[in-house]
């Protein structure tokens, strides 16, 4: 390869992919996806197919704005959102686990319900249609990390985000520790892999799953907080914009591992940023770039399943 071509490739890469603005955009756009991914992960590892993330995110976003608006405190907003996550998650768990409602039907119902309820509440409480923004909503300000913020490239790259961004990274680490370093995590994985065997060992399958669904509600609610209090302090109808489902994609793509979820969320964020860039420079319609993560997930899912089956066949033939 001649050096001229290489130079051009490097030029394109640095212009469109690896520059500070893009990486900042990547981290920003990936945060709600990381949290939605954890929401999918924690239920997935407990053997539950939770497609209600979308509705849970909307509730979280709405209650974050409501709490912040009425109490003039972003912290109260976050607390209200977490509470809403616990309640919605609890109801979802109650109906699907205890009352044996079909979990997919329940998920669809919560998504439709959450969308309608948040629109309704915006009109009923704030007397606004479409979106609600108000100077009295206190947002989560940026956090400037001392020392780090003064280092050239690393400073702008890693400092100055809202607390939820850092919280999402901490939660990834905590989820990892929980899954692999605590007895509760061990039980959760056992329940997900073989519920009957776990029950035989005296693990309370229902209780573990209940807890997992409620935790997923909290993760989703935090994703909602980021959307409504992160950059702009406002609630917009349907502001989840599919992130609940993207979370499922990220979890699948990341093979159900916390670190995998983080990395594939970054990938999603990067693709998103580049997509907007290419659209802005009229190189390529954004829609094709937006499609990439979903197609990639389909491919990854296929490879993953086929490999799993082959492994199972090998084990069976021994």
């Amino acid at each position: 390869m001649d050096s001229e071509l290489l130079g051009r490739i490097l030029d394109v890469l640095s212009r469109y992919v690896f520059n500070v603005a893009n990486l900042q955009g990547m981290l920003r756009l990936s945060t709600p996806v990381v949290l939605a991914g954890l929401c999918a992960l924690i239920t997935d590892r407990a053997g539950i197919l939770n497609i209600a993330g979308e509705g849970m995110i909307l509730f979280g976003a709405w209650f974050a704005v409501a709490g912040s608006f009425f109490f003039h405190s972003a912290l109260v907003g976050v607390a209200a959102a977490i509470l809403s996550g616990l309640v919605v998650g609890g109801l979802f768990a109650l109906f699907s686990l205890k009352f044996r409602a079909h979990i997919i039907i329940m998920g669809i119902a919560i998504n439709i319900f959450g969308n309608a309820a948040t629109i309704f509440l915006t009109r009923a409480v704030f007397k606004q249609a479409g979106a609600f923004a108000d100077p009295r909503i206190v947002g989560l300000g940026p956090i400037h990390i001392p020392i780090l913020k003064d280092i050239p490239i690393l400073g702008p790259l890693l400092s100055g985000y809202t607390a939820i961004v850092y919280l999402s990274w901490i939660l990834v680490a905590l989820t990892f520790v929980f899954l692999y370093r605590t007895p509760w995590g061990f039980h959760l994985r056992a329940v997900g892999e073989h519920p009957e065997a776990a029950a035989t060992l005296g693990i309370n399958v229902q209780a573990i799953r209940f807890g997992a669904v409620m935790a997923s509600g909290v993760f989703a609610a935090l994703a909602g907080v980021y959307l409504s209090l992160g950059h702009l302090q406002m609630f917009t109808e349907q502001m989840a914009a599919g992130r609940g489902f993207i979370g499922m994609a990220v979890n699948t793509f990341g093979a159900g591992e916390p670190v995998g979820v983080l990395l594939s969320s970054f990938l999603f964020g990067l693709v998103d940023t580049i997509g907007w860039r290419l659209q802005g420079e009229r190189i390529m319609p954004v829609y094709f770039v937006s499609m990439v993560p979903y197609i990639t997930t389909l491919v990854a899912l296929t490879i993953y399943t086929v490999r799993q089956q082959r492994r199972r066949k090998v084990i069976a033939s021994r």
């Binding site: 119902a109 998504n111 629109i119 009109r123 197609i295 899912l301 296929t302």
Partner: protein, 389 residues
């Protein structure tokens, strides 16, 4: 034991036949009692919300009812809102019956719609060829969109739920691209050109007689009704219908019985996708007459819920879709007259589904009732397994 009773009936004349009818009626009643109670429970919750909104619930329900059925116009708006839902409900029902969870009805609906739109505006043909061609292409497009998840499930064992959710999003972006670039009709908005007159389904207002003024109800409702009858016939009287039903009940049993499961599942899912696609095209050529990017969402998911409300039967899904559509129409009326957000109806249906779907809650209610009324009779519905183990 009940099957023995069934065997005896042909030998016994009148009295037994009356018994049979009574038993059937009682069965139907028992099956519908749950949905009636669910609707009542949801109405109670709805009333609380309305009181909080400082509205008189009885007045609001009256408005809702008037908005859905109160005038000729209201009835036609109800029909218009119900038409696409009938298609998506039937598509969901068919998939559920064969044991496939087709969450992709949403995407298949819109893919069928855009394919139908393309055939509708790009070709100049006599109506007698054009209209069937639009419907055929949209059916095939919906089926094709369902093909990838189906094959992934059947050949590789990948859960159809995640794959259909992914294909829904791919459909959304694909359509946004198509309406923004190659199929764009006007420079100002992302929408296709109007379809040819030969590809239109007539709205009732456009027909002589001018029924349904102020609504966009169209003759596509007859296609929906025809589809209901065809599906009912297929499920009840044909081999493939029998195989679909058996596959849904127990795939392992069906396999032992010599049914080719691959063929049954794949065909079921493809026809389901096709019906969804057909519904999309009917909505476009009946109501909108062009494809405007993101003109609506949620037809598929609402159809999923309607199929559940209809207990996965052909006529049940049909009635549930009509119910959902007319309630939407009623809610539109509410928004115009009382300023209540129309989302109220999605909240209400969501609540009905919560109550309906919760098998265990009803067991609980049944055992409680049995406990107080006749302890011995209802014991069986409690927890028999726990005693045995």
């Amino acid at each position: 034991m009940s099957s023995l009773g069934g065997l005896n009936t042909p030998l016994q004349p009148k009295a037994a036949r009356g018994d049979e009818l009574r038993r059937k009626l009682r069965g139907a009643f028992q099956r519908s009692i749950r949905i009636i109670l669910s609707i009542l429970a949801s109405m109670v919750v709805g009333s609380l919300v309305m009181l909080w909104y400082k509205q008189n619930p009885i007045q609001v329900y009256t408005w809702l009812f008037q908005g859905a059925f109160g005038s000729q116009r209201a009835i036609f708006i109800s029909l218009q809102r119900a038409t696409p839902l009938i298609f998506t409900a039937l598509a969901s029902m068919l998939a559920f019956r064969t044991g496939v969870f087709n969450v992709g009805v949403e995407g298949q609906f819109f893919i069928g719609a855009i394919a139908g739109t393309f055939v509708g505006y790009a070709f100049r043909l006599p109506a007698i060829i054009h209209l069937p061609l639009v419907l055929l292409v949209s059916f095939l497009a919906g089926a094709a969109w369902a093909y990838i998840p189906t094959i992934m499930r059947q050949k590789l064992g990948v859960s159809e739920i995640i794959t259909t959710i992914m294909t829904n999003y791919i459909a959304t972006f694909l359509i946004s691209y198509l309406t923004n670039y190659p199929m764009r009709g006007t420079p100002t908005t992302p929408e296709t050109p109007f379809i040819q007159p030969t590809a239109k389904l007539a709205q009732f207002v456009e027909l002589p007689g001018g029924l349904g003024k102020g609504s966009q109800a169209h003759v596509g409702i007859f296609i929906a009704i025809a589809l209901v009858l065809v599906l009912w016939f297929i499920l009840k009287y044909t081999t493939i219908g029998y195989e679909w039903r058996m596959a849904g009940m127990s795939s392992r049993f069906s396999q032992f019985a010599g049914i080719n499961m691959d063929r049954v599942f794949i065909l079921g899912m493809l026809v389901s996708g096709g019906i969804a696609g057909l519904g999309g095209a009917v909505e476009i050529i009946g109501v909108w007459r062009k494809y405007k990017d993101l003109f609506a969402t949620g037809f598929g998911f609402r159809g999923n819920l309607a199929a559940l409300l209809g207990r996965n039967t052909v006529f049940g899904s049909f009635i549930a879709a009509l119910f959902y559509g007319s309630m939407e129409a009623g809610a539109l009326g509410l928004e115009w007259s009382a300023g209540l957000p129309r989302q109220l109806i999605d909240i209400a249906v969501g609540l009905i589904v919560f109550f309906m779907a919760a098998e265990g809650m009803w067991d609980f209610v049944a055992t409680r009732k049995g406990w107080s009324l006749s302890g011995l009779l209802r014991r069986s519905s409690g927890k028999p397994q726990a005693q045995g183990g």
